[in-house]
Symmetry: C2
Subunit: 337 residues, 2 copies
Amino acid sequence: MLRRALYRQVKVSAPASTANLGPGFDVFGLAIDAYSDEVELVLEDDKSDSYSDSSSSSIPSIDSLTIEVHGSSMNAEHIPEAAEYNSAGLALLSMMKAYNIRDRIRVRVNKGIPAGYGLGSSAASAVAAVKALDVMYDLGLDDVTLLRHAAQGEIASAGTVHYDNVAASLLGGFVIVRQEPLYTVKVEPPEDLLLCVATPKVDVPKGKTGVARSVLPEKIMLRQMVSNVANASMLVAGFLMKDTRLIADAMMRDVVVEPARMHIIPAYASVKKAALDAGALAVTISGAGPSILIVVDANDNVKDVVDAVDTAYSREGIECYVKVCKIAGGVSVLECR
Amino acid sequence: MLRRALYRQVKVSAPASTANLGPGFDVFGLAIDAYSDEVELVLEDDKSDSYSDSSSSSIPSIDSLTIEVHGSSMNAEHIPEAAEYNSAGLALLSMMKAYNIRDRIRVRVNKGIPAGYGLGSSAASAVAAVKALDVMYDLGLDDVTLLRHAAQGEIASAGTVHYDNVAASLLGGFVIVRQEPLYTVKVEPPEDLLLCVATPKVDVPKGKTGVARSVLPEKIMLRQMVSNVANASMLVAGFLMKDTRLIADAMMRDVVVEPARMHIIPAYASVKKAALDAGALAVTISGAGPSILIVVDANDNVKDVVDAVDTAYSREGIECYVKVCKIAGGVSVLECR
């Protein structure tokens, strides 16, 4: 049965996110209110009223979607508008095939999130897109189903399906994701958890996530696993017990991914040292980088940390954006018409 | 300065424990009320009143301790009474050296916990011993310090210092342990968490823990770490959110230790299948085995599970003890005189 749209136009916003948080590689995601993407779906020619029309009965394909990328966030101009290379496009196609949606849809992606900087940009676009389609066709899909489709979008940017950023962007807060079988647990973070993301204005190569994955060891020592399991467990306990110090302490103790990746993150060692010297509670790589996630103490001088980070990048000749932020809620519907 | 005893006789009890809980190898411990050990310290000749006595000023050594092992728990008769091979002895010596305790002490260990069966027997004796000494000399040591000394006792049975069983036995409840730097987080488990430990009456070789460690891979795939981090995180969230189903589900998903060890655990596959078929929520190896830990649903027919486990062992010609139990509190002081 062909699906009929309930609305002709739906606009949805999804927050940026940071993944890994140190020991939780490919497992932890955290939604942050530093940036967000908006996706607006507009029905181009509503064929759901005229079932006889031949074009509407064609299999949903890349031709069903016209994608426009707007916005002036870093790197937005390099985001492909071809549906098969665009995270929102891939996610929407996956869903349209699953639910037999054959209308032509215009997709306006308004980028607020720097693209390719480890802040879940592609995930946010995909999440906003699948939520918009869910609302537009009144599908009432559950979170895990939305997650599965949104994660298809990650193939466009990362080459593989992974769920940490999409889960955080969809659900908000702190999210634990298990991939096989897919399952998520969302936890409300401590209210006073204050963060800072620093994004260096450097060129990010196409396929950056692939590079960031290629530097990881394929095999690790069993004792490294024990260490990361312990600290990931401490971090989860910290979120549930609303203990920011415990979260920050555990975040700093990844013995697998940070040591392997830090040399590909511009100015990482010096920015980390500067932030900690200025009183930051924790510093880690945001997702695959090059952005850096910093936990700051709300009672301390946040400005000191921001200034120190700024100065550290400058000293290495790198311009940067530093944003103080808090935990974000998940995806939200802005408008349905 | 020589320490003077506050009491001449102190008796302490410490519960059995189960470690690992699937994905939390060397990280998770859980105190269980299935069994417990009692340790009584008795001052043999109180030299703390006569500082001039030469024997009291000798360095604390194995000669300071006379250890007697009583009790009829499985394997109790094989526990060495020489202080340097006894977990309570090693733990006490570590503490006596650290706090300059030079009295001669008689140590009566009353074993209630099957020894060498993966139920934290050596840990419980060590924990009870250090707590008793702490009380006897009014040292007022904090948990981490007691933990460090108690863990020295594990060298007697396992050959290495590890903290999962000692932490659970000391603190009670569910405990997350990070070894380096040493830190513990204790979580109160859901009140309705009902467990079952099945202990097969098989010969356990000396150095069993060493064997159980030797079958583990030295290196693992990175993706195995990701899976275990995810499920350990789910398990921690389950304990904190009091969600028994989540705990049980995560407990079953260890992809590293159980697959490597199950072939050395007598009748493991058939007992696991029998328990699950009878309605158990989860089955895993208790510590280094051969005991098996089973999570049962308090609302279901626990007797069915116990009978099924019993029958499965019998079919393989193995006698077993099956104990239904709940989570235990930590170490407790029974008597000071």
